[in-house]
């Protein structure tokens, strides 16, 4: 345990390393993230940003070290408890990861259906979130008929509809034009104001610096190079 840890920590990494074959993607990362923080993980392509997010939502397992999410040790999470952990996260991906054969409404509703929510609540909540993200008029559209910016707004709506306490966004603006990217970041900032912890991995430092107020964690070659507060 180091000095930076405090009672409000929601994510804690202790000497975490991740190895793919012989290559180390993350090297001895120790990190403490407080509840309600806005974290920007920057660094060049291949630095380990995506891997860091993946190990947080258990898409990848760590090779060494330990991770605590709100006090839960990820190494001790059974496969039956994994869905419950993932419901605490809202995830946004560069490639949106929307189901192409399901409508905008169905894509967003999936999170609440998986959580076993009642249909009336699902309908109300999904339409509310789609209204906030400006996608309510296209709720019947299929993702392939939408622009990249619109698809990402749907993905963001899906990420927040379950009211998760942590948002993980992996290159959320990577394939968007500057206007759409700005809209997505604005929405994430807005959601963050309600108390959510937001982690955004991106190499677009310029866009984030102009928008985000939070902590920037710079990663290079799998290690934390620098941590700075962006004002």
């Amino acid at each position: 345990m180091n000095e930076t840890q405090n009672k409000n920590s929601i994510i804690r990494l202790f000497n975490v390393s991740k190895r793919f074959g012989g290559k180390l993607a993350l090297k001895d990362i120790t990190l403490d993230i407080e509840q309600g923080e806005f974290i920007f993980i920057s660094g060049p392509s291949g630095a380990g940003k995506s891997t860091l997010l993946k190990i947080l939502y258990l898409a990848e397992k760590v090779s060494e070290g330990q991770i605590l999410i709100d006090g839960m040790n990820l190494a001790r999470i059974s496969s039956s408890k994994l869905p419950l952990l993932r419901r605490r996260f809202g995830m946004v991906f560069q490639d949106f990861k929307l189901i192409p054969t399901r409508t905008v409404y169905e894509n967003v509703a999936l999170v609440l259906e998986a959580a076993g929510e009642k249909p009336a609540y699902i309908k109300k909540k999904v339409m509310q979130v789609l209204r906030t993200t400006g996608m309510e008029k296209k709720f019947k559209a299929l993702p392939p008929t939408l622009s990249g910016g619109e698809q990402q707004r749907v993905a963001v709506a899906r990420a927040v509809v379950g009211e998760p306490s942590i948002i993980l966004a992996d290159e959320p603006t990577g394939s968007l034009d500057s206007k759409s990217a700005q809209a997505v970041l604005d929405f994430l900032m807005e959601y963050h104001k309600n108390g959510a912890t937001v982690l955004i991995a991106s190499h677009n430092l310029h866009l984030l610096e102009s928008t985000v107020r939070g902590r920037n964690i710079e990663i290079s070659d799998g290690t934390i190079n620098r941590t700075a507060t962006m004002l």
Partner: protein, 291 residues
Amino acid sequence: MTHFVKKALADIRSNRFLNLITIITISLSILIVSLFLLFFENASRVIESWNKGGRAMIYLNKEFNLDMLPELKYRINGLGDIDEMVYISKAQALEKLKKDMSSQSAFLKTLKKNPLPDALEIKMKSYNSFKEVQRFAQSIKAIEIVEDVEYGQGWLGRFLKIFNLFKITGYTMCSLFFLIALFITANTVRLAFYSRKLEIEIMRLVGATETFIKAPFYVEGLLQGLFGGILGLGILLVTYVTISSGITQSLASYLYFDIRFLSIKLIVLIILGSTFLGWFGCYLSLKQILK
């Protein structure tokens, strides 16, 4: 549950061709199985009707005399359910033979001695199986005064042998078609699973449990089995109605029994079995994919 049924129906609609092939395969299997069951059910009824009130002749040996008759009748009555027992003396038997062979009875006049035995004709009450009839006949035969018992063991035995052969063939065919249907169902689920790999990956990422992911596949398997079963039985019913009406018209005078369709109990069992088949195919497939 409604969500899973809706999802499964949507998937069946989106993969119409694949699902249609599976349903047709299941229905063919069910058709074959039902066809055999229809045959067995009707054949069993025929055997049962032949056994019911079946007649048997008890031939008595030379030591028999009429004084022994009351005691003999008493002993035979004690061995099993007998509806009626008539004594036919050897003289009566010869008379009857002469009458039956009226045009060719000349040679009977050359006989110096009546070669026919005294006999008892008995009418048996209901018996559950041919083996029971056999056992009854054996116990009558054990009486010292009885020479032989004739109860149609020749033709009935042969019929039962053929019937049993059909049974074995039926079981083999049914098992084979069951395996084929199981294989096709499992394969359809596998293909559906792979075609929805991205969807499943996303479901997992948003916190869906394995039950939530698998349930629509199971419902799909159950529906395939159910539809296949209904279709198979439907085809059999149409075939039965078409054929049986023709048989009844042309063979009504020869048959003293009607060909009946499967009982409601059996229909329900077949549909349940078919639904189970769909579910089991899905279970095997998912078990293999997700291990």
